[in-house]
Symmetry: C2
Subunit: 300 residues, 2 copies
């Protein structure tokens, strides 16, 4: 009978998990156990604090619905999602546009619109134009690339928050033309507070953080043979551009809307941004990059 | 505009959390962020793996019900609960009986029985006797101490698993007599597999672990001025006594039932165990030990 103490239980746990068939699962869970145990030892977590943590995680899981993903929000506000994205960019075979957070509001099945269409059904402010090209790393255009875009409206709300139902708005799918160009109309989105009415919002408030994300537009861009790009463009004049509560802003992703004689739609302020896709890396299992469908948040 | 990479985002997250009012919350969340980020960097977690993790945690939260606590189960099978308990024991001012896991099946409001009563309503096998004394560290008896006991039946099921409703069985509360003695009848519980029909069971199966806990009886023991004791007694002849899937067994907690001329109830095999309570440590906030009510799992 081996008596386990707060240090030896770690090896005992690793020993019980040693028979894991999938080597990657084994590697991930071994590291998870080592870090979890080290965390508990570092802070000398008490039983009462442990139970508070159990209740916190349980409340987060139970706050998740088909239209709300509170665990992604937790990952975002703790900077975990940003670390995952930065590692993803670093591992690319060649440099593309930087990644940014997927966030919890991506949805599959957005309407397929024509280049030039407006993605907002009833804008109450003057639209702006977003345009540019999707190219490879060398600047060669990628025709027929799929650009998925989603954003808040001029009041800082996503469609799922602005309406009671699940109708789609402020989101669309486009295909680039033969020259790799895309262009569409939308409204300048408003920055917003992350949802503060759940357990993650409670934590952020106890941390005395403002909880705001600067104004931004999300993009998920794919083309065969290239790494899927999950990113966002951020508007430079937002008050929270330097203090994004989920650490998503990079300098290379900051834009502003202005009069632009090159814009394909004149009479409206425009943002030009060219996205570069890195070639896909084929992994040992023969998988080419990430499968876009796997980025879809769980709808429990 | 500071561009964050997979290392600098950690300091950025700590900086955003620096204004946390509660110093203990700050300490815990700082360590959580450091270890979470280090874990992601160590295994170079991909976006697809990150999403798998999000979905795993979400499924665990959604598997929790008023009568099932899947996050406690996760903590248990990863050895985290055992680390918390070992730290708790080490921090005691004086040595008491060793702790063991609370587990997810504790319930408040069990029936108050009289010493000698049987805690099983309809036993199908011959009962055994559990008896002994509850004392302080020096062996002085603690009269009127509260002993809460819960266990599986002879088929390895807790009351919540054996019946559809929420009626109580195989659990009771006792008070020690003037000499600090307790004694009651029960059945020898059967060891059992942790619940394998949820996300934690899926993980344990992928780890090729047997998933069994050896036969045991849970105790939660309290007396004013003493540290609350959460522990369990384990039966030595169980096949899984050396491979408990949640790392709860300590040599000092292993017992067996035998003929015993000192047992207060003759004609039945008996287990004698004396529990020693350590004096409560008064913390900086003036709190005496742990509050028993805080060990109650969340009933969402």
């Amino acid at each position: 009978m081996q008596d386990l103490d707060e240090n030896t239980v770690t090896d005992a746990a690793l020993a019980q998990m040693a028979g894991t068939s999938d080597p990657r699962l084994k590697q991930i869970m071994d590291a998870a156990v080592r870090h979890l145990h080290a965390f508990v030892r570092d802070v000398e977590l008490t039983p009462a604090e442990w139970l508070t943590g159990i209740q916190f995680l349980t409340a987060i899981g139970q706050a998740c619905t088909p239209i709300r993903q509170e665990f992604i929000l937790l990952s975002d506000v703790l900077g975990v999602s940003a670390v995952v994205n930065a590692l993803h960019d670093r591992k690319a075979r060649e440099l593309g546009t930087q990644s940014s957070l997927l966030g919890p509001f991506y949805r599959e099945g957005a309407p397929d619109l024509q280049l030039g269409d407006c993605i907002v059904q009833n804008p109450s402010v003057e639209p702006i134009v977003i345009y540019g090209r999707i190219t490879d790393n060398a600047g060669n255009p990628l025709p027929n690339a799929l650009l998925q875009v989603w954003q808040t409206n001029e009041h800082g709300l996503y469609d799922l928050q602005a309406t009671q139902g699940d109708s789609m708005d402020m989101r669309a799918n486009f295909r680039t033309d033969a020259q790799g160009r895309y262009f569409f109309r939308t409204v300048r989105p408003l920055g917003y507070s992350i949802p503060m009415d759940g357990p993650v919002g409670d934590l952020v408030q106890r941390q005395n953080r403002h909880g705001f994300r600067p104004s931004h537009i999300h993009f998920l861009i794919g083309a065969p043979g290239y790494r899927e790009l999950v990113t966002a463009l951020y508007f430079s004049d937002d008050a929270h551009i330097d203090s994004d509560t989920v650490f998503g802003v990079s300098g290379s992703l900051v834009v502003n809307a202005k009069d632009d004689p090159d814009s394909p739609i004149q009479g409206l302020r425009a943002v030009r941004y060219d996205f570069r896709l890195a070639r896909a890396v084929v992994d040992e299992a023969g998988r080419v990059g990430a499968d876009p469908s796997r980025l879809m948040p769980a709808a429990e």
